[in-house]
Structures are given as structure tokens and as C-alpha cells.
């Protein structure tokens, strides 16, 4: 039997390492980890970064979530709003448009008919203004749901906002489909001029719940 490509490539790698053994290394992890910041500072840093990416930011409390979401959706003229199956129904109690609950069997092109989508989030990173969505979480939904509609309203609990990247990455479940979002879709491909919204949602509204 002739060698498979797998055998050949692995044999080559081993041969290469026999011919040139690299320096033994232990990885120095002297960079900052395990950082914490008081609530107000974390909030200020996170908001500063979100605004820098031209995301729209609103703050609310657990008690005013429904009112703020209704206001945001109305302000953007969203008449049909998609939600993942596990989103707290109370959040859209004040919304007078049509709420469409997503499921895996809805073909992606149908998502194009939604004006926007409201989801929760798994964890965020203040220092980079990044929101992590966990596709396996019922209140965040499958990846297509937050990708196809042109408006994404994302609810972030301040308690889930970590200071830096290492602290946020540590919260993830690696095997789940995970999407990191830092502002709306953008490109600088034409003469380096920044244009928001190529294929992802052109508008990202982040609603931060300061007491949740």
C-alpha cells in the first residue's frame, strides 16, 4: 500500500524536527490576566470603545429593559423583530411590532425579511469593546439570526463585562459556535476610507443593563 498523504506529511514534520530541533521554550505569560475594575470604570471603558466603533449605546436597568428596547426598536422603524427562542419574553413586553421567534428550520433567506433582531450576549470585553455571542445559548440563537437582519440590538449585562481579552476568553465554552462582535460590519478596502456595514448588520445597538 502506498503511503497516504497523512502519513507522508506527518513523516515530513518528524523528519524536519529531527533535522532542526528548535529551542526548548516555556511560554512566558507575563501579560496582564485576571484584571478587575469597579463597575463604573468598566462601564465607562466599554462604552468608550463601543462608541469608538460607532456602535450605538443605551444603558438601562433590569426594570427598564422592556421600555428601552421598545424605544430603540421604534426609533429604528423596526416593525418585524426576530428573537432567539430562549429570549426572556418580558424584554419585548413594551414592543408594539411583530415579534418573530427563530428556529433552526427557518431558511436563512426568510431572516432577510426581518427589520432587526434582539438577543442577549454571553460575555464582553471592556478594553476592546467586544461582545461574545454563544450560539448554543437559547437567548442568543443560531449565528445566522444575528447576521442577516440589518439591525442588531444586543443586550449586555454589566456583570458579564470583563476587563480584558484574557478574562473574557476564559468565560467561553470552546466547543460552542462563538461570534465576536466589535461594532457594526465595516470595510476600509476602497482607498482606506471606512464604510460601515458591508454584509453584517449595518446598525449595532448595545443596551447595557447596569444592575444585571
Amino acid at each position: 500500500m502506498t503511503a497516504t498523504a497523512r502519513d507522508t506529511v506527518l513523516r515530513r514534520v518528524r523528519d524536519a524536527l529531527t533535522l532542526s530541533d528548535g529551542p526548548e521554550v516555556t511560554v512566558p505569560r507575563a501579560y496582564r490576566t485576571g484584571r478587575t475594575l469597579p463597575d463604573e470604570e468598566r462601564l465607562a471603558l466599554f462604552v468608550d470603545r463601543l462608541v469608538d466603533y460607532r456602535a450605538q449605546v443605551r444603558t438601562c436597568t433590569a426594570g427598564t429593559t422592556a421600555a428601552v428596547l421598545a424605544e430603540v426598536l421604534r426609533a429604528h422603524g423596526a416593525r418585524r423583530t426576530g428573537v432567539p427562542p430562549g429570549l426572556d419574553p418580558a424584554w419585548l413586553a413594551g414592543y408594539d411590532g411583530e415579534t418573530v421567534t427563530d428556529s433552526a428550520d427557518v431558511p436563512a433567506p426568510r431572516l432577510d425579511a426581518l427589520d432587526g433582531v434582539v438577543t442577549a450576549s454571553a460575555v464582553s470585553c471592556a478594553e476592546t469593546g467586544t461582545i461574545f455571542l454563544d450560539g448554543a445559548a437559547a437567548d442568543q440563537g443560531r449565528r445566522a439570526l444575528t447576521l442577516v437582519p440589518d439591525l442588531h440590538v444586543c443586550v449586555v449585562d454589566l456583570s458579564s463585562v470583563r476587563t480584558g481579552v484574557p478574562e473574557a476568553v476564559a468565560q467561553l465554552t470552546p466547543e460552542h459556535p462563538i461570534t465576536l462582535i466589535s461594532g457594526p460590519s465595516a470595510t476600509s478596502d476602497i482607498e482606506l476610507e471606512r464604510v460601515e456595514g458591508v454584509h453584517g448588520p449595518r446598525t449595532l445597538v448595545v443596551v447595557i443593563r447596569t444592575d444585571a
Partner: protein, 523 residues
């Protein structure tokens, strides 16, 4: 293909180690048609290119400095990134096997490709198996390197690039000129023209405003995203510990391709593996800040095999060698495999800034391209191999080393490649010239005669006192630079003349006069 078989699986095998082969000559895009100086000569005439590149490189440079400067632990992150990559290369066999096992456990299928030709064949077969004759592409250096799009086209499969710049390049039947902003050599009016000519059904009233050009691409591609069944991507990282793959991007075309089609095929160079999921905490800081100068890029997708009810239900990972093991076998050159394709070295390079990416002839341009390309494809594939000119496409200023987020010592790698090139090059004009010079310098009489003869060069020089074209074998030198004409008189003959003696006496007298008011260094 994916099941561990044979003695290689447990690391014991018999026989002497063989030097792994480079990427096969004449395949893919790891070699230009002309040497760097010849290609650069023409590119330098392109004013549009130079203006755009100057603006792009300076602007990204400034952004990069701002966002790396704000992290007090930037150097510690670089140290960690460098060590993680070195450790990865040391443990590559076990990490690749672990990655394969994890991806397979999660419902994916892993394929191995010895070179680009084999990878192209695997992808073609996988696409055919789906019954589809069109695919969507996420920008990927690995698939450009192997010429996947061209191969698929020859097999009757249409591959559509979905990154805006790659789409522009593809529609214009052009080549990328920068890793990060591949269409930087085009301006908005040219892009408008390209769209009007090549996008079916585009509004004829389309103007050249970047936002409206981007919107035209959005409309065109959205329908493709919704209907195409297969996508092909590259990968920025593949995590051995969990089988997780990562694609870092800005526009959302990556998310579309990784999410909406039924089948996803990812082509990944074997050097892109990372040991642990935790390692992402380092590279998600190093890559965006070094690449686009952002604190974080707009979108990053992480996926592990197949997730029921979310995303492609069929996932194939093609692990590509194509000369990477040959680079790994080079004690010094292996450091080039640590590259995470951020393009920071391009943006700081005085040579790249002026010539642009096309002059390098390879998918990988700039300083890292000048070391990575010869490592993957070799420098001696044929007589006058264009790749043999790449290690010289540098002033060795060292800016690339300072900018590299994983601390690849590019200048030292370039010097090593120059050394390897001259060692392997047999009898070159340069060697002959050095030998002749040694003979002449050993004999004072002959040296004086030679200097007098060189004085005749003034006759050949133009009024600006330079020689723009030297006769063979020195024409290699004069092709890319002017040579100052030799002086009328050699220093030795001037020193021996009456004029020289008088000048020396005058200088000695002036030196004696100035001693009194010379600065008192000891006080």
C-alpha cells in the same frame, strides 16, 4: 484518510530523516515571472500605486502604533506569542494529530495535502460530491498560494471571492497587492468602472462614493450568500486542544460563508495550529492591533466541527504542507512559519512602500514574503529563479523585526537566505569578480595599473558623473543602481604627487594653529 494508521502514529519510525520537499516548481503562486529588481522597476513607474501605498502604509502604521502603545504589556504579549509559536513548531506532529482527532470527534472530516496540487484536487472532489458547480470564498492566503480559484475554474467550478477587495481584484482579473488591503492599488473611479462592467444588473447610475460601492457589492453578494451551497475558507488559527477553528475579519462576508452554506471546506496551512484554546487570549490581542491597527476587528468566528441546527452541516478541514515542512527543516528559516499574516511588516518596510506587493511575484509580499516565499518554494527551482532575488529586496533596516507581533527576526532570516543563495549558486559573476579583486590586491604593481585603468571609466560616465550601465558581468549591479564614476586620480597617486604633499603640509599647519582653542575634552 483521517484514521490514524501505521507506525507513524505513535512517533516511531525507521530510517534516516529526509529533507522534506519544497512546494513543487511551476505550481501555485509562490513565484513571479521576473526577478524583484525587474518587476520593481516597472511598478515604481506607477504613480497611482505609489500614492495609494504611501497613504495606506502610513495611515495603518500610525493606527498600529497608537493601539499597541496603549497596552502596557504589549512586549509581554509579543514574547508570549513568539514562544507559543516556537513551542507549536516543536510539537507539531502531536498537535496536528490532536487537532485531527478533535475535529473528527465533533463531526468534521480532516484531509491532508502534501502540496497545493493535492489540496486543489481534494477541494475539487469535495465540491463535486455536493453536486454544486459554484462556491463562495472567504479571503484566504493559503488558497491564493495554491491557486485554488484557477484550478476550480479549469474544472468547471466557479469560485466567487466575497471580501470586498478580493472581489474587486477578482472582477478585474487582477492580483492582490497587499495582504490586508489587496485592492489598495485601485482608486474609487477604477473600482466603479470595474463594478459597472462586471457586476450583473448593477445600477448604471452608480457613483464612486465608497459607501455606495460597498452597498453595490452587498446587494450583489447577498443573493449569492443565500443560494450558494458550498463555501471555502482559510483559517487564522486551529486549536489542537479543542478542534476549534478561527477566522478573523471585518466585513461579515466571513460570517456569511461560515454560517449559511450547507458545506464548509477550510484549507489551513499546518503551521496555523495553536496548542490551547487559552492561547487565543494572546493572539486575539496581537493580530488585530498589528494588522488593521484596531483594538479588535469587527467580527471573529470560532467554530468546532459541526453544530446541529447552526451553520454548515458538513465540514471538511484540509491540512496543507506545500513546502512548510521544508521550511521547518531549516534551523533558522523555520522562524518564518511563526508568521500570523498580520501585514505589519509590509506597512513599515521602505522597500514595500515604494514597490508594492506585485513586485514580489508571490502571494506573500513584503519582508515576510521575502523570507517565507523562498522557504516554501525554494530559490533554485530553475536557472535565474526569480525567488533568488527576494532576499535582496531589503535594506535590512530592521523595522519589520520591531513591528512583528511574534518577533520574527526577518533581517537575520534575509541575511541567512542571502548566504544560502550565494553558497548554492555555483560560479557567479560576483564570485569571479571577488576572485579577480583578490588577485589584483595581492600585487601592488597590478593594483596601481588597475586603478589607472579604472580612471578611464570617467570617459564612459555621463555629465552627471555616474555610470548607469556597466558591461557584463557587472550589469546585475547597474540594473538597479547608478555607479559613481571612478575619480580622476587615485588617492595613492594623489598622495605621492606635489599637490598632495602641499595639501598635507597645509593641513598639518592648520591643525597646529587650532590646538589652542580646541574644546577641552577633559574638563
Amino acid at each position: 484518510m483521517s484514521s490514524p494508521t501505521g507506525p507513524a502514529a505513535n512517533g516511531t519510525f525507521l530510517g534516516m530523516p529526509a529533507v522534506p520537499p519544497r512546494s513543487p516548481y511551476g505550481t501555485g503562486h509562490l513565484r513571479g515571472e521576473r526577478t524583484f529588481p525587474r518587476a520593481a522597476h516597472d511598478e515604481l513607474d506607477n504613480e497611482q500605486l505609489r500614492r495609494n501605498l504611501g497613504k495606506a502604509t502610513h495611515s495603518i502604521r500610525a493606527k498600529r502604533l497608537a493601539v499597541t502603545g496603549e497596552l502596557p504589556d504589549w512586549e509581554q504579549l509579543r514574547d508570549a506569542g513568539s514562544a507559543i509559536k516556537t513551542d507549536t513548531m516543536n510539537r507539531l506532529p502531536e498537535l496536528l494529530e490532536q487537532l485531527e482527532r478533535k475535529v473528527t470527534e465533533r463531526g468534521g472530516t480532516v484531509h491532508w495535502a502534501r502540496d497545493g496540487v493535492e489540496a486543489n484536487e481534494i477541494v475539487t472532489r469535495l465540491v463535486r460530491d455536493t453536486g454544486s458547480d459554484e462556491i463562495l470564498k472567504v479571503k484566504s492566503m493559503a488558497t491564493q498560494e495554491i491557486g485554488l480559484n484557477e484550478h476550480l475554474e479549469s474544472q468547471g467550478i466557479a469560485a466567487l471571492e466575497t471580501d470586498l477587495a478580493e472581489l474587486i481584484v477578482q472582477l478585474a482579473d487582477d492580483r492582490p497587492s497587499h495582504i490586508l488591503v489587496p485592492a489598495i492599488h485601485r482608486n474609487r473611479d477604477e473600482i466603479r468602472e470595474i463594478f459597472l462592467r462586471h457586476i450583473p444588473g448593477v445600477d448604471p447610475a452608480l457613483d464612486a462614493d465608497p459607501a455606495r460601492l460597498a452597498a453595490a457589492a452587498r446587494t450583489f453578494l447577498r443573493e449569492k450568500f443565500m443560494t450558494t451551497k458550498v463555501a471555502v475558507s482559510g483559517a487564522n488559527f486551529g486549536i489542537a486542544e479543542t478542534g476549534t477553528l478561527a477566522v478573523v475579519e471585518s466585513e461579515g462576508n466571513g460570517r456569511m460563508c461560515l454560517t449559511l452554506p450547507q458545506t464548509l471546506i477550510t484549507v489551513m496551512g499546518i503551521e496555523k495550529v495553536l496548542p490551547r484554546f487559552e492561547d487565543l487570549e494572546v493572539f486575539l490581542q496581537l493580530l488585530p492591533r498589528s494588522s488593521t491597527g484596531e483594538r479588535m476587528n469587527p467580527y471573529t468566528s470560532l467554530w468546532t466541527g459541526v453544530t446541529p441546527g447552526d451553520g454548515p452541516q458538513e465540514f471538511h478541514l484540509v491540512l496543507l504542507d506545500n513546502g512548510r515542512t521544508a521550511a521547518l527543516a531549516d534551523r533558522i528559516g523555520r522562524a518564518a512559519l511563526n508568521c500570523i499574516r498580520c501585514s505589519a511588516c509590509l506597512n513599515v518596510c521602505p522597500v514595500y512602500e515604494r514597490t508594492g506587493g506585485h513586485a514580489y511575484g508571490s502571494t506573500y509580499p513584503g519582508p515576510i514574503g521575502a523570507v517565507l516565499t523562498p522557504q516554501l518554494a525554494g530559490m533554485h527551482g530553475a536557472k535565474d529563479d526569480p525567488n533568488s532575488s527576494l532576499p535582496y529586496a531589503s535594506s535590512l533596516c530592521g523595522a519589520c523585526f520591531d513591528a512583528c507581533p511574534v518577533k520574527i527576526d526577518i533581517p537575520s532570516l534575509l541575511v541567512e537566505l542571502r548566504h544560502q543563495h550565494t553558497e548554492q549558486s555555483g560560479t557567479t559573476a560576483e564570485k569571479l569578480a571577488m576572485k579577480a579583486a583578490a588577485t589584483v590586491m595581492k600585487r601592488p604593481g597590478l593594483f596601481t595599473t588597475a586603478q589607472k585603468a579604472a580612471g578611464l571609466g570617467r570617459v564612459l560616465a555621463g555629465r552627471d558623473g555616474t555610470l548607469s550601465r556597466l558591461p557584463p558581468p557587472l550589469n546585475g549591479w547597474s540594473d538597479s543602481r547608478d555607479t559613481p564614476a571612478p575619480p580622476r586620480q587615485s588617492f595613492r597617486s594623489w598622495f605621492a604627487s606635489a599637490e598632495g604633499a602641499a595639501a598635507m603640509r597645509a593641513a598639518a599647519a592648520e591643525g597646529a594653529r587650532n590646538t589652542d582653542d580646541a574644546p577641552q575634552e577633559d574638563s
